[in-house]
């Protein structure tokens, strides 16, 4: 699959998702370029996670279409180029009996997979934790393992859902530094957050979401106060003042 030749990593067209008769997402379109670093921001219940699940192919849109790397989200070939870091480590139970290496390896095998697994563990700095059970990791270490698992598939697009939720400031900074390194290698990053600061500081562009597209800014730090008031019904735009350029 000639992923590298595709300029648009994601194209969403007239996307609508209805649950129990109500529009969670209503008729919006956007394009994300390959190699972009996009923050998806919005209030709780605004449809951020639903959008992420639609892009991952875990939900199907009621109306509209999504193209991922030139193909449909349901195609296995497309999904093999996708990495996903779920919120708070996903459904992985703290008592789940697995070592760090087993989680990173997950279902992958073969010579090429071994190389990517070793590379991902090296890049995340968790090589020394390889044999440690997941139940004996700190929150920051667990998130690095989740990121390594996503990167072990050598993805072209990396999706993250509130990846630093519950982490202390030092762990957050370390995690964001890893994401910057990954993006510098050409991986498209889409990360969902309700943290306006993080989006403004880390992402190169932003999608502001509240059931419909409030804005799609080419520069995340250019989200204006009006848009944030629309999103959060508050003066949280003040949070961004010192980031405006």
């Amino acid at each position: 699959m000639p992923v590298a030749k595709i300029s648009a990593a994601i194209t969403a067209s007239h996307l609508t998702f209805t649950r129990n008769g109500e529009d969670v997402l209503h008729d919006f379109s956007f394009t994300i370029a390959a190699g972009d670093y996009v923050g998806v921001i919005g209030p709780n219940g605004g449809g951020k996670t639903t959008l992420l699940r639609l892009l991952l192919g875990l939900l199907q849109p009621t109306n509209g279409s999504i193209t991922l790397l030139g193909g449909k989200t349901t195609e296995t070939q497309v999904r093999r180029h996708v990495g996903y870091v779920p919120q708070r480590g996903g459904s992985l139970d703290a008592q789940f009996p697995a070592t760090v290496e087993e989680v990173v390896r997950s279902w992958r095998h073969g010579a090429e997979a071994e190389r990517h697994i070793a590379e991902a563990m090296h890049d995340m700095g968790i090589e020394k934790l390889a044999a440690r059970p997941m139940s004996r990791l700190s929150g920051g270490e667990r998130q690095k393992v989740m990121l390594a698992r996503a990167m072990a598939g050598n993805p072209s697009i990396l999706f993250l859902d509130e990846p630093v939720d519950g982490l202390d400031p030092a762990s957050r900074d370390a995690f964001y530094a890893l994401l910057r390194t990954i993006n510098a290698k050409g991986v498209t990053i889409i990360f969902v957050s309700h943290d306006v600061h993080a989006i403004a500081q880390e992402a190169s562009s932003a999608i502001c979401l509240k059931h419909q597209l409030v804005c799609h800014s080419k520069k995340a730090c250019h989200i204006d106060g009006e848009e944030l008031r629309d999103l959060f019904h508050s003066d949280r735009h003040a949070l961004l003042d010192h980031h405006d350029t």
Binding site: R53, L56, G57, L58, T76, Q77, R79, R80, V82, G83, Y84, P86, G90, S91, L92, D93, Q95, F96, P97, A98, T99, E101, E102, V103, R105, S106, W107, R108, H109, A131, P133, S135, R136, R149, A150, G153, F159
Partner: protein, 271 residues
Amino acid sequence: MPAIFALEFMQRAFAVGLVVGIVAPTIGIFFVVRRYSSMADTLAHVSLAGIAASLLAGTAAIPTALVVAVCSVLGIEHLREKKTLLPDTIVSLFLFGGLATGIVLLGLSHGKNVNIVNYLFGNIVTVTPQDAWLITILGVIAFVLTLVLWRHLFAISLDEDVAAAGGLHVRLLNRVLAVLGAATIAISMNVVGVLLIGALMVIPVLGAMQFRVGFRRTWELSLIISVLSVVLGLVASFYLDLASGGTIVLCAIGFFIVSTFLAGGMTKRQL
């Protein structure tokens, strides 16, 4: 040679017991880590309806129980995916529905001269040569299929969404795992009985999990606990004239308690 190994029915009991002792925790570990432990009980109760149906229809018990369990487990998976009912509700419906159907059918088959107690509580020494072959063939198929799909079943147990996003066929794998669970139940009926089947799938795994090691290591430990429980349980039941199914499960519980103490001691030494 000790008397216990010279008797043909005991040789058969050990052979069948070892097959079940290996297969039960191999499938059971996926049920435990996914918090599906109650599913094993549900399938066991549904199997009772299968046994009762086999008495009425005059068919072989294990294949009939297998067919009923597979149909039920596919129904459970279908309803679980539709998400219109809570998972607990679905499992309860099938558990009590299976038990009720079994009781009604057993009532209708009154006078068929079959000792239902053997199926309820297990009596491994009554396993016929035909049953032994069927259990061995089904057990080997289930074991090999699980090993082939090991990485994929592990991945969907870790996180279904991550596995699906990465291109795995989660729906199909869930169904395969459910059918493997149904097969395990069907071949374990004679060994520990319908009422205790879930125990052999769950308790050895719980014992192994006390050591807080990796997934593969946990599985290996659970195999040791399970096989030792079956062997010790059979020997004890033979010499002490005890019910084989209950004795095997009591041995497994004993190993669970020992594992808890051993693992606790190891943790203290590490601190």
